[in-house]
């Protein structure tokens, strides 16, 4: 019983990371109808920015997070402006290829400074375990869950109550409609990418203490974030969050009770299983195509 709850908390912590990754994917997909295959690498960039801030600039954890988020956002906006805007209207294969190329490029660029060793990021707390109600729980996990939750709430408020957030929602519904009412969709796209990148980078910094840091770490998070988004039907924010928790917890339980070897691939099984049984995800609705 004790073991189960520890695993559960760990699963929720990882799950909140996957949820954040899912959010970033869904955000871009809803606005530009394309999956950003480089999203995992944005997370990796965030993690390494945080790592560099800590190791080279000796910034404390909190400020590393801020630095990663800001630089991540900038990175996202630049990517959209330089690479994406030119091809935004082309065939979906073209778009997807650009993000694939970007993902590979980023991995290569990261490998030059960071490829030699596997790095680690020290946890934010000195204590390794905290005992709550007789159950050992890692404070880092709790911190991760808390931060992810705050991010989700901040996002909700952003979409609901800020002008930019509303414009983004409008553009997601209909690009032409948004243009007709005077919304600068170019800015919205740039902001969407920036926002998605910020979330991704934040996830990276949160992931850093829980995971090893290496240039290829992105793919793993991309797949699991995708599993989470798929569970949520690729449409909704709450869906992505619930999906993230499910993936995180299932993975941990698999690892704890079956075998750690299977832990890596449990997310893959989830993806394949869900998509075969419920092709639109757990919460999704059938999309009607127009010719």
């Amino acid at each position: 019983m004790v073991n189960l709850l520890t695993l559960l908390v760990a699963g929720l912590a990882n799950g909140s990371l996957y949820a954040l990754v899912a959010l970033g994917l869904v955000l871009i997909y809803k606005t530009q109808d394309v999956v950003n295959f480089a999203h995992g690498e944005i997370l990796m960039a965030g993690a390494f920015i945080g790592f560099s801030a800590y190791t080279f600039l000796h910034l404390p954890y909190g400020w590393s997070l801020v630095a990663a988020v800001l630089l991540g956002g900038l990175l996202g906006a630049v990517i959209e402006r330089v690479a994406f805007r030119r091809v935004a209207n082309q065939h979906h294969i073209t778009l997807a290829m650009v993000t694939v190329g970007l993902s590979v490029l980023m991995k290569g660029l990261a490998r030059i400074p960071f490829g030699r060793d596997i790095n680690t990021y020290p946890p934010a707390f000195k204590a390794d375990r905290v005992v709550l109600w007789g159950i050992p729980i890692s404070p880092q996990h709790l911190l991760t869950i808390a931060m992810a939750a705050s991010l989700a709430v901040a996002l909700y408020l952003f979409f609901r109550f800020t002008a930019l957030g509303k414009k983004m929602r409008a553009t997601q519904q209909t690009i032409v409609g948004a243009q007709l009412v005077g919304i600068n969709t170019g800015n919205v796209f740039a902001s969407t990418w920036a926002l998605a990148a910020m979330i991704g980078a934040a996830a990276g910094v949160l992931a850093a203490p829980l995971s090893l840091l290496y240039p290829d770490m992105g793919t793993n998070f991309l797949l699991k974030g995708f599993a989470a988004a798929v569970l949520g039907g690729f449409e909704s924010v709450p869906g992505a969050i619930v999906g993230g928790f499910i993936v995180g917890v299932v993975e941990m339980l698999f690892g704890g009770f079956v075998s750690t070897v299977f832990q890596q691939v449990s997310a893959f099984f989830i993806i394949i299983l869900v998509l075969f049984l419920k092709p639109d995800g757990l919460f999704g609705r059938r999309a009607l195509a127009r010719v």
Partner: protein
């Protein structure tokens, strides 16, 4: 080439003869490179069917190549089957598994196909690494070269004598398939499935066919790859391999058989020079993928065709007959 029809028709034969002649005097390393180029032509053609012509964005090509490679290697060393049988089997095994990937393609939204196949590819690598009893895991497997009339076909030149006819045959086959109603059905589903269906095309059947065909080529390519290298490990068939495949198709030109050839020639020679510098490889491939798509979305063959250096490719047999009508 457009203006010299005799040149166009002679060129393939000239090329084959040149390669055969050159192989008599090449050193082993160069021969090995030539073998790899031919193998990646097959791989590129296979991916082009799926990605370029049929527009199915799937990430399983490298994993399927791995399946083909392991099938060939394991059948020759652990089961004792002759390579002459193991090679077609690698194609068939990969094709069956590849057709299995068509199932999600038919049922789910486009966005999911890419990531499902990516997950599947990771799963395959994981199986290759962890199923030690069968695949020998990270220790790798070697391949036993075949006998031809009692002569052991070992070494790079002998490998070339096997790889070349297979490549030529598979190229010819691809040309026949593409210039038929099957090839036209591929492009139809690429553009708009609803329109394809309204013209009598069964999207389900066409997708299954293109996935199987593409996987078959990947499998054969994998089997020949195992032959050329003599020894394979799971890690060779991961994302790095897949990136090379994508780059070949994008750089050469999607929607073009010539593109697969050109892409394979250009990019296969590259990794050999950069073999130890993974970061540099990745940066180059990443840039190739992005820049080519942004600047030359039709790949190298685009401008080559526009300037008449490369002939047009029209998906209809003997279409030039119609040209002469005037």
């Amino acid at each position: 080439m457009e203006r010299l029809p005799w040149l166009r028709r002679l060129f393939p034969f000239v090329l084959i003869l040149a390669l055969l002649a050159a192989s008599q005097v090449m050193d082993n390393y160069l021969q090995y490179i030539v073998n790899l180029v031919l193998i990646y032509v097959i791989i590129g053609i296979g991916l082009n069917f799926l990605l370029g012509f049929a527009g199915q964005f799937a990430f399983a090509h490298a994993a399927l190549m791995g399946i083909g490679a392991y099938t060939a290697a394991l059948l020759t060393t652990r089961v004792g089957l002759s390579f002459w049988l193991a090679l077609p089997l690698s194609g068939v095994v990969a094709a069956v598994i590849g057709a299995g990937a068509a199932l999600p393609a038919m049922r789910m939204r486009r966005v999911y196909l890419a990531l499902v196949t990516l997950a599947f590819a990771q799963l395959i690598i994981w199986v290759l690494i962890n199923w030690n009893a069968v695949t020998l895991g990270t220790d790798g497997v070697d391949l036993r070269a075949p006998y031809l009339f009692g002569w052991r076909m070992r070494g790079d030149r002998n490998t070339f004598y096997i790889v070349l006819p297979v490549t030529v045959f598979l190229y010819w086959l691809a040309r026949r398939v593409l210039e038929s109603h099957v090839g036209r059905a591929f492009i139809a589903i690429r553009e708009n499935e609803i329109v394809a269906r309204s013209n009598g095309i069964s999207v389900a059947w066409t997708k299954t066919l293109v996935f199987a065909l593409s996987a078959f080529y990947a499998g054969i390519g994998g089997g020949l790859y195992a032959l050329a290298l003599g020894f394979i490990v799971p890690d060779s068939f991961g994302l790095g391999q897949l990136t090379l495949h994508f780059s070949i198709v994008v750089l050469g030109g999607m929607l073009s058989l010539y593109g697969a050839v050109i892409g394979a020639v250009v990019l296969t020679t590259l990794p050999e020079f950069l073999r130890d510098v993974q970061a540099l490889q990745e940066i180059i491939y990443g840039l190739v993928l992005m820049v080519v798509i942004l600047v030359m979305p039709q790949g190298i063959v685009g401008p080559l065709k526009r300037f008449g250096i490369l002939p047009r490719e029209v998906l209809a047999r003997n279409w030039r007959r119609l040209e002469r009508r005037g």
